[in-house]
C-alpha cells in the first residue's frame, strides 16, 4: 500500500473548518513540516498522531498564526492564516502543551482576563464564564485560586478558557500530556461535550494511541509528513483483518474443519490463524465448531500501534525521547 492510498481526505461538501495546502516549515536546512495538505470539516474532532518531534506543534503553531509558513497556505474558519492572522486568532481557541494560566488569580479571574483579551461583549462575559465552567465541570471552583488546582483541573480550566470566546476551532496541543488516565478520560468527556453542545471543531495533537482513537479522523504524522489519514476504523482496516489465533490438540484436522465451515484460515508455526470480520463475535462460533480440541484462543484486532508500525516500520513508543522532560516541565510550572 502506498502512502497516497492511506490518505483519504474526501469530505464531500461538508463545510470546512481548516484547509491546508502544501504547508511547509523549515528551520534552516531542517524541514519540520514537509508539504502537508489536508482538510478538517466543521464539527469534527481531528487528531494529529505522531511521535515527539514529528512536527505536530510546529504545524499547529502555523495554523494558529504563531509561526509563519515557509511555503504553502492554509485557511482556518475560512480566513487565510497569513493575510488575516489577527482575524484568525479571534476565531480560534488555543490550549498549549505548556500551561498558560496565572495561578495567583482565581479561575474566574483567569477567564475574565481572557474574555477581555478576546473582546467578548461585556454583557455576555458572566454568562459565558458560567457556561464554560459547567462544560468542564469546574463550576464549584469558580472562586478558587488556580494555585490550588491539580494538574488535571488546570488543564480543563484551560480548555474552558479556550472555549470562552466561542471559537470556531479549538486547537489542543497534547492536551492530556502528564495527566493520569482518569483525568484523561474526564477531559475527553469535556472535549466531546464541547463539540456536541457548542458545535466547535476540535483539532488536537497527541502521541497516545488510545487518545487518537476517540477522534473522528486521525492524521498520522511522522518526520514532518502525513503518512496516513482516515477514520480510526478505516486505518485499522487498512492494516489488516481481525484475527483469532488458536492452538488445538490436532491442528491439521482443526484447520480442515474450519475451512469446511467456510472460514478463511491458515496454519502457522504455533497453530492456526483465522481471519474474521469481527474478532469478538467470531471467537464463540469458532470454539463451538472445534469443540473440546481447543487449548488456547487469542483474538486480535489491529490497533493504532499496528497502524503506526505498518506505515512507518517503527513503533510510536520508540520515539518518546522528550516526553518525560515535557511532563516534568508541565508540573514544575504548576508548583512554582
Amino acid at each position: 500500500m502506498t502512502g497516497d492510498q492511506a490518505i483519504s481526505n474526501d469530505l464531500g461538501d461538508r463545510p470546512l473548518a481548516v484547509e491546508v495546502q502544501g504547508l511547509t516549515k523549515r528551520f534552516g536546512d531542517f524541514t519540520a513540516v514537509d508539504d502537508v495538505s489536508f482538510s478538517v470539516a466543521q464539527g469534527e474532532v481531528f487528531a494529529f498522531l505522531g511521535p515527539n518531534g514529528a512536527g505536530k506543534s510546529t504545524c499547529i503553531k502555523m495554523l494558529c498564526t504563531l509561526a509563519s509558513p515557509s511555503s504553502g497556505s492554509a485557511k482556518v474558519a475560512g480566513l487565510d492564516i497569513v493575510t488575516r492572522a489577527k482575524a484568525v486568532r479571534r476565531q480560534i481557541g488555543l490550549v498549549f502543551q505548556e500551561q498558560t494560566l496565572d495561578d495567583q488569580l482565581t479561575a474566574e479571574e483567569n477567564l475574565r482576563f481572557h474574555a477581555v483579551l478576546y473582546g467578548v461583549p461585556r454583557d455576555q462575559v458572566d454568562a459565558r464564564i458560567t457556561r464554560v465552567l459547567e462544560l468542564v465541570a469546574l463550576s464549584d471552583r469558580r472562586k478558587a485560586l488556580v494555585s490550588t488546582f491539580s494538574g488535571g483541573m488546570a488543564r480543563r480550566l484551560e480548555i474552558a478558557r479556550g472555549m470562552l470566546h466561542t471559537p470556531r476551532v479549538l486547537f489542543l496541543d497534547e492536551p492530556t500530556l502528564g495527566l493520569d488516565p482518569q483525568t484523561r478520560a474526564l477531559m475527553w468527556e469535556d472535549v466531546l461535550r464541547l463539540r456536541d453542545e457548542e458545535g466547535v471543531t476540535v483539532f488536537l495533537t497527541t502521541h497516545y494511541m488510545e487518545e487518537a482513537e476517540q477522534a473522528d479522523r486521525i492524521a498520522i504524522i511522522d518526520r514532518g509528513s502525513i503518512i496516513a489519514l482516515d477514520t480510526p476504523h478505516a486505518l485499522k482496516a487498512a492494516v489488516g483483518a481481525d484475527t483469532v489465533s488458536l492452538e488445538t490438540s490436532d491442528d491439521a484436522s482443526a484447520l480442515a474443519l474450519l475451512v469446511a465451515e467456510g472460514y478463511r484460515a491458515e496454519a502457522t508455526e504455533t497453530g492456526i490463524t483465522v481471519f474474521v470480520e469481527d474478532e469478538e463475535a467470531a471467537v464463540g462460533p469458532i470454539v463451538d465448531t472445534l469443540g473440546g480440541t481447543v487449548r488456547t484462543v487469542r483474538a486480535h484486532r489491529p490497533t493504532l500501534d499496528d497502524v503506526f508500525l505498518h506505515f512507518t516500520g517503527r513503533e510510536i513508543r520508540q520515539s518518546h525521547g522528550d516526553a518525560i522532560p515535557m511532563m516534568a516541565r508541565a508540573f514544575g510550572a504548576r508548583r512554582g
Partner: protein
C-alpha cells in the same frame, strides 16, 4: 437552541475589527491584574517596605550622627525623600519584572497570542506598575512624622504626582529589560548591575552638591537623578528650612552652577519614559 444563537452572536462580534475601546479595555484588565496580584501578595508589600525603612533608619541615624544637623535640619530629613523614591523605584521594577515570571509560568503567552496590540499590553502593565509603586511610596509617607518631616495635603498631592511619573518611567524601563530577559537568574544580575547602581548614584541617599567630579558626572548622566530631585525639592519646600540648611542639603540638580527647575527634571523623566515605553513595545513584539 439558545446555545447556538448565542454562539452566532459571538462570532459576528469576533469577526469585526478591533476598536480603540477594546484596546483600552485590555489595558484596563492588565492594570487590574497587577492590582489584584499586588493586594493578594502581602509578603511583597511588606518586603517592599522593609528595605527602604532599613535605609531610612540605619542610614538616617548611622550617617546622621556623622553628618550632624544644620539649622535644625538633619540627615534623616534629608534622606527621607530619597528613601520614598527608592521604594517607588523598587516596587515599579518588581512589578515590571513580573513579566519574566509570566514568561516562565506561561501566562505571557496567553497575553501575546491574543488578538490585541502590544501597545495595549504595555500600557496596562505600565499603569499597573505605576499604581502599585505610587501606593507603596505613599505608604512610606506615614513614616514622615517619625523623622520630623512635615506633610501638608498639598504636599501629599504633589508627592503622589511625582511618584507616579517616576513609577511610570521605571516601569517602562523595567518592562523593556524584562522583555529581553528569558530567565529569572538573569533578572538577579540585572538588579545587581543596573538597578542598585542607578539607585545609589541618583542622589537618593546623598546630596548632589560638593561631589568629586567623576561622581558628579555620573549622577548627572543617571536619569533617576532627575526623578529623585523634584520629589526632594517639593518636600523640602514645605519644611521651612534655613538658608544654611538649604545650602548644605541641596535638593535640586545643579549643572555648571545652574539649578535645574523642576519642570526640566520632569521633561527629562517624561522623555525617558516615552523612549522606554516605545522600546518595551518593540521588545515584546520580538518575543513570540
Amino acid at each position: 437552541m439558545t446555545a447556538i444563537t448565542q454562539s452566532t452572536a459571538h462570532r459576528e462580534v469576533a469577526a469585526r475589527d478591533t476598536r480603540f475601546s477594546d484596546e483600552l479595555r485590555v489595558a484596563g484588565m492588565v492594570w487590574e491584574r497587577e492590582l489584584i496580584r499586588y493586594t493578594r501578595n502581602r509578603t511583597r508589600i511588606v518586603s517592599g517596605l522593609t528595605q527602604p525603612v532599613l535605609f531610612l533608619f540605619v542610614l538616617g541615624y548611622g550617617m546622621g550622627s556623622l553628618v550632624g544637623s544644620t539649622g535644625g535640619f538633619n540627615f534623616r530629613q534629608f534622606v527621607f525623600p530619597g528613601v520614598v523614591a527608592m521604594s517607588v523605584v523598587m516596587t515599579a521594577i518588581f512589578s515590571a519584572i513580573s513579566i519574566v515570571w509570566d514568561r516562565e509560568f506561561g501566562f505571557l503567552r496567553e497575553m501575546l497570542v491574543a488578538p490585541v496590540s502590544r501597545t495595549a499590553l504595555v500600557l496596562g502593565k505600565t499603569a499597573g506598575g505605576a499604581s502599585v509603586a505610587a501606593v507603596q511610596g505613599t505608604i512610606m509617607l506615614a513614616l514622615a512624622p517619625l523623622v520630623g518631616v512635615h506633610l501638608t495635603p498639598l504636599l501629599i498631592v504633589e508627592v503622589i504626582a511625582l511618584e507616579l511619573l517616576m513609577a511610570v518611567a521605571m516601569t517602562t524601563f523595567g518592562v523593556f529589560v524584562a522583555s529581553r530577559i528569558q530567565k529569572m537568574e538573569a533578572f538577579q544580575v540585572v538588579m545587581q548591575m543596573i538597578l542598585m547602581p542607578m539607585l545609589f548614584l541618583s542622589g537618593a541617599l546623598f546630596p548632589l552638591s560638593g561631589l568629586p567630579r567623576w561622581l558628579m558626572v555620573i549622577t548627572r548622566l543617571n536619569p533617576l537623578t532627575y526623578a529623585v530631585a523634584p520629589l526632594r525639592q517639593v518636600i523640602f519646600a514645605a519644611q521651612n528650612m534655613s538658608p544654611a540648611a538649604q545650602a548644605r542639603f541641596a535638593a535640586g540638580v545643579t549643572i555648571n552652577g545652574y539649578v535645574l527647575p523642576i519642570w526640566i527634571d520632569m521633561v527629562i523623566v517624561t522623555a525617558f519614559a516615552l523612549v522606554f515605553f516605545t522600546l518595551a513595545i518593540w521588545g515584546l513584539s520580538r518575543t513570540e
